[in-house]
Amino acid sequence: MSKPSKKKVYGLLAEYDSAAGVFHACEQVRDAGYSAWDSHTPFAVHNLDKAMGLKPSVLPWIVFAMGMTGAISAITLQWWTSAVDYPIIIAGKPYFSWQAFVPVTFELGVLLSAFGAVFGMLGLNRLPMWYHSLFNSERFHRFSDDKFFIAIEARDPKYDPERTRKLLEASGAAHVEEVED
């Protein structure tokens, strides 16, 4: 049994009844200048990223870098093996027949792009994650069903138990609770 004195606060969790409700609440939280917070909805809400003031993801750059790495390493590997390390004449064509190397270059570019997209996405989302404090809340489980949530973390420099709670309540939350870390 945990002792109440050791209880550490993760942050405040506010529950909303509608997508429009959480959307406008996000705008208010964004305008209040919070940085360590997130919203949770059962489905994708259009433009919620703008309401939250999120910057564009760096994922495209990761994918681009990975794709280029794939394409360049594929063409280099084929050039080195076919034209440098073990030159061999195939079908009377030059050692470095770039035409023949295009499919592999293309495929490796696509493969590494896909790796970059999938693993980059997982990395940026810090997944897989075995524990998340928000699941300490019973009510939060309905975020994948029919409720909408905003969670503001206690580590946010602007965080203040009283004022943050007031802000969330004023933003139209149906329920605000403190969540254990």
Binding site: V45, H46, P60, F64, G92, Q99, A100
Partner: protein, 417 residues
Amino acid sequence: MSSHNDTVTIAPEAVHLAKGSVWRLLPILGVVLAAAGLGGAFALRGEHHHEFWFAYLVAWYTFLAIGLGGLFFVIIQHLVRAGWSIAVRRLAENVAITLPVLCLVGLPVVLFGMHDLYHWTDTAAVDADFMLSNKKGYLNEGFFQIRVGVYFVIWSLLSLLFYRWSTTGDDDAERAARNADTARGFAAPALFLFALSLTFAAFDFLMSLDPHWFSTMFGVYYFAGCCLSIHAFLTLVSIFLRKSGYLKGVVTDEHYHDLGKYMFGFTVFYSYIAFSQYFLIWYANIPEETIWFGYRIADDFLPLTYLLCLGRFPIPFFFMLPRAVKRNAWTLGIIASWILFMEFVDMYWVIQPVLAHHHAMASGDHHMTMHLGPLDALTLVGVLGVFLAAFGWALGRKALIPVKDPRIAESIKFENF
């Protein structure tokens, strides 16, 4: 937030060309250009019958790519019941409806230009050639004319049908909903007819210029150009319409973004097809196949081939890669113009080397000379005029969007992630 059941109010002045609008001058401008271009080319042709017909074919096939692309766009958007595209679908329908007129432009090729364009119409030469005499069952004048007639009927009929289903619903929401269902039901067989007619037309008009050569990918190669051209043209027209005050709040940056994504996607598709066609022939290294590329990398045509390779893939690909480029009217307009220009380069690259080879053989110096003269410019301007006249006429005739389409609200409110 789901927008499926929402409604929008569309300001009539945003989707109807005003009485004194400059857009209303488009048909007149088109007719002037057509008369000046085609008339000028016809007057200038003199003894250069070959040059005239080859230039005419290049110009015609360049604009046919936009027209056929428009028909494809309309059919495929109906078939998949796309929501985003409804706001620009009427523009594509106006492009597709130029097809009956463009078919008329193609008629002289069949009636008068065949002997100047197609070597296989020379029966004496065919009988002396083992390969060509074996192709006689397909490549003969009578059958060619029948096939072309069938293509023209299919294209005209399909474009008219889809145009009518869309425009007759403009005053009557119930009828619009019924027509949308009919169009969707008919879209699948229409796509079949379209695919077959486009493929065989590309075989007949373009591939048979060099009757010894064959590539089963040739139809889809031309189709890729059609898709690029229509998305580029729709982009340009919606940008210009928005700049002149129309379609405000109807065609949004979101639609630009999607048109941009399609231009990007079909850039990759075209490159994939074009390279595959080249790759198989390069690998097999069979003289009767490689010679087609041989002409196009010989002498004057090598720089053109480089331009095609660069201008069709690396330039548009890397340019359109960032998201912001596809959401900005300026950058998107630049690349759309480039894509349309490259369609002309592509058609020139496919068609003109045949004539250059003919000249190279006749002159005896065997040098592939590239000609780009007044005939090329005038025919291009002429067919552009015909295309603009038909398109401009359709643009002013009805609303700029299918105003009563059951899902027009969904399209207008559409947003990308």
